[in-house]
Subunit: 497 residues, 2 copies
């Protein structure tokens, strides 16, 4: 009886996830393949598919099924696919039901309308142009947060990206990060590092060959993935055996390979979710911070490692002969150079988290209304000076640089820095369990690391909450110390506090 109700749930949820993945496909296509004039109709198609997914999730039938299955779910092993699926779908449905359809629609409309305004405001560096749209989006986020029973409004926003994570917890972690990072960066930025050779001429075909060399090491199964150029790289999946990476190839600098390593981390995570979870909402990474932990791990922990570059450097030098005389140690220093800068997405590994902390603080203040929105650029610029010691020359390179707020997305930024934190917690644990990982990496072999990640993390998909997963994988909670320790060691400043 319960088994048959579960089968019904499984079928419903399969359809729900198929629809979600068609939306993913439409969005991937939009960013990689769609002729530009297709945009208007595509926006309508995306709105329709999102409405359909919503309707399937909130349907009374599904509600009855979940109620009926509640005792069955409780009776099962907590770790089982069945119990996890019932938990996750119930949770998703309850959240979806909390928010009135009108509010969802208004927020979607506001976001759609704000986006082109932001594009124009950024282009002309004119914050006042963007101000009304931002006010509207923030107000809508307040109303959204008010739909939930939370200790503070920001909790509701954060929960969409990092389920059950509390603002208080992030605040504590970020306070410690800031305390550790500010002096560390100040000192590291004084080092005299030549990274001029990372600019120059890097033709696309050679970049693509390098990307293949690198991604071949990740262990994707044959015939399961592709990589395409786009403006803002991302990775996604349409199934565990249908993985879509995207990247870009700026031909005047050697940054594309790091983008590929980063997206490769996201991609290999989605690829290795247990096939038993296919066509369910469990068939994805656990949360955004967890996802970011994988991209950061492959981009930074592996991708900027000296051993890895001892293996990779000869290939890079073959492809880009102008680098032929650069010793690998200089290379390693250059790709790890700490240099406070204006733009988040161009920031180095150490300063990156400070860009995030700034945004996290401002978002809470925006939501609380404790900041006069008109003064936001001034506040932004002051804190950039305080945290990173840089002068913001204009709002385009300041408060207007990120797309997120134009989309009405608040509560997302913290997940980037939490990803950094988790990535090093994982790294330490992986090295404790498989001590020869560094040696393998020095031979260009990632099998020890990926095997550990597959078994401990990847295969679980979204079966557990972020917190549960962290407890299982590293045996504890969020801890910024490994990340700070790692940066100190790498940046050669082991004494800093």
């Amino acid at each position: 009886m319960s088994e048959s109700a579960y089968e019904t749930l499984r079928a419903r949820v399969g359809e729900l996830w198929d629809v979600a993945k068609l939306a993913t496909l439409a969005s991937w296509d939009q960013q990689t393949m769609m002729p530009p004039q297709g945009a208007a109709v595509r926006a309508r198609q995306l709105a329709t598919v999102s409405k359909l997914a919503h309707d399937l999730l909130v349907s009374d039938d599904l509600g009855r099924l979940l109620d009926q299955l509640a005792p069955y779910g409780e009776s099962l092993d907590y770790d089982s696919t069945e119990a996890s699926l019932i938990r996750a779908v119930r949770r998703d449905r309850e959240k979806e039901l909390r928010v009135p359809a009108e509010l969802r629609e208004e927020a979607a409309r506001a976001a759609a309308e704000a986006f082109p305004v932001w594009v124009e405001a950024r282009r002309t560096s004119d914050f006042r142009l963007f101000l009304p749209a931002l006010e509207r989006n923030v107000e809508l986020r307040r109303r959204y947060a008010a739909c939930f029973d939370v200790a503070e409004p920001y909790d509701a926003l954060l929960d969409d990206f990092e389920p059950e994570m509390k603002t208080e917890e992030v605040r504590a972690v970020f306070a410690r990060l800031k305390e550790g990072l500010v002096p560390l960066i100040e000192e590291a930025a004084r080092a005299d590092v030549d990274d001029s050779f990372l600019s120059g001429r890097f033709p696309r075909p050679e970049q693509q060959e390098l990307e293949r060399i690198v991604l071949d090491r990740y262990g994707f199964r044959e015939g399961t993935w592709r990589i395409d150029p786009t403006e803002h790289p991302f990775a996604t999946s349409l199934g565990t055996d249908d993985i879509r990476l995207t990247t870009r190839y700026p031909e005047d600098e050697l940054s594309g390979v790091f983008a590929a390593m980063h997206e490769g981390g996201h991609a290999i995570y989605e690829h290795n979710v247990d096939p038993a979870l296919e066509r369910t909402p469990l068939c994805r990474g656990c949360s955004l911070a967890w996802h970011e932990s994988q991209s950061r791990l492959f981009e930074n922990l592996v991708g900027r490692d000296l051993g890895w570059w001892r293996w990779l450097c000869p290939q890079v030098q073959r492809l880009f002969p102008q680098l032929g005389t650069v010793p690998v140690e200089d290379f390693h220093r250059a790709i790890n150079r700490v240099k406070p800068s204006l733009i988040r997405i161009e920031a180095d590994e150490a300063t990156y988290s400070l860009h995030i902390i700034l945004r996290f603080e401002l978002e809470q203040e925006l939501l609380a209304g404790s900041i006069d929105l008109r003064t936001l650029p001034q506040v932004w610029n002051e804190r950039m000076r305080e945290y990173l010691g840089v002068e913001v020359p204009d709002d385009a390179r300041g408060v207007l640089q990120d797309v997120h707020w134009s989309r009405g997305t608040l509560g997302y930024f913290p997940t980037y820095a939490l990803g950094n934190v988790i990535s090093v917690q994982l790294w330490e644990r992986a090295l404790a369990d498989v001590p020869d990982i560094p040696e393998q990496i020095g031979r260009g072999e990632l099998g020890g690391l990926t095997g550990w990640l597959r078994e401990r993390l990847w295969r679980h998909g979204r079966k557990f909450t972020p917190k549960e997963l962290l407890e299982r994988v590293v045996g504890g909670g969020l801890d910024p110390e490994p990340y700070l320790r790692y940066l100190r060691t790498k940046l050669g400043s082991p004494a800093a506090a």
Copy 2:
């Protein structure tokens, strides 16, 4: 009141069409972009989206809305978008409701199961292997036809591709075609035409440049289309400004450019549907025969025209220097060579329709059960000898060559030959209205032709039935004489009957 009900219909139908187009996207992606291992999950996603489209179409709400709108629809100008949309949606819904869900699902399952069996049967040229699957598909088509109130079962199948077209009518047209074509081909095939230079070395980049040169003449608006390689070329649209062509580039022959011209015809038709029909089931070509009339017109009437090649030949000779010494008249004869052959999709313009007539006859006999399925290969081979004078060496190059029957698709083949017929009816009418079309084509200009087609045909999308449209555009019914006349003139045999 009726206006507001119509607005509701419009919104519903917009969602329905969005879903249909997402299915189109998923299918386009499957054939152009999808990593091969994504196939299993994609099949499920396609099944789900097809179920969703079905559910939207048969919903009671939509039925009530259509009933409510019936008098309003009658009161409007027949040609108006509103009246046409109400007619088309009512028709689609009534057809969809006629077929029990179980039968639809069984047919989809049977097709999915038969396809790989056919692949293997064709590979090994073993008709007996395919026989049980074919029997099952034919039986399911019989049951499908029995859901409709039709004069003969084949009418029901034909109607899915050529709404309201009757088998009897096709039979009459094809009888005349066969009568005209058999002697024409016999004579034309005796001509001594050297087309050896159409084989050789045709590198892909040069083929792509040639394709661009040709498709640039079609007048696609900028940023509205793309072309990608695939195994079996097709063209489709995700919106009137999001057109997807596909093609292939065999490097040992100059056939790719004809595939591009053919798909270009399909594509430019979809591209020029009136934007007022966007996001409705009227936003597509009228029927398959009408669609094929456009691909054939651009591939054959334009694409194999002597004037067109006087313009195009220098470009082709620049790209493929080995053709540098071939006079354009020889070129023209070679690309129009009539040579009876085994494979439908490789057939020339004249013999092609006989391949279709053979299939049309067999399909009726299969459906009527008047043929012992086990003897199908023998029947096939005998008729190939009779109609085309060729000996079929094996079933792979005979009865097993086409995918259609494995998919349970019967009633589709005739539309190919009807497209040939209509293409020349149109051509004659266009030339009567715009006499300098040939002269323009000789300068590589298609504006006179495309302007006429846009105004007379393309913009109407699916507002009218195929028959209504033909009456409007050429002022009469289906008529094979222009097509026969055109072939006789071109093949230099004006005296033949």
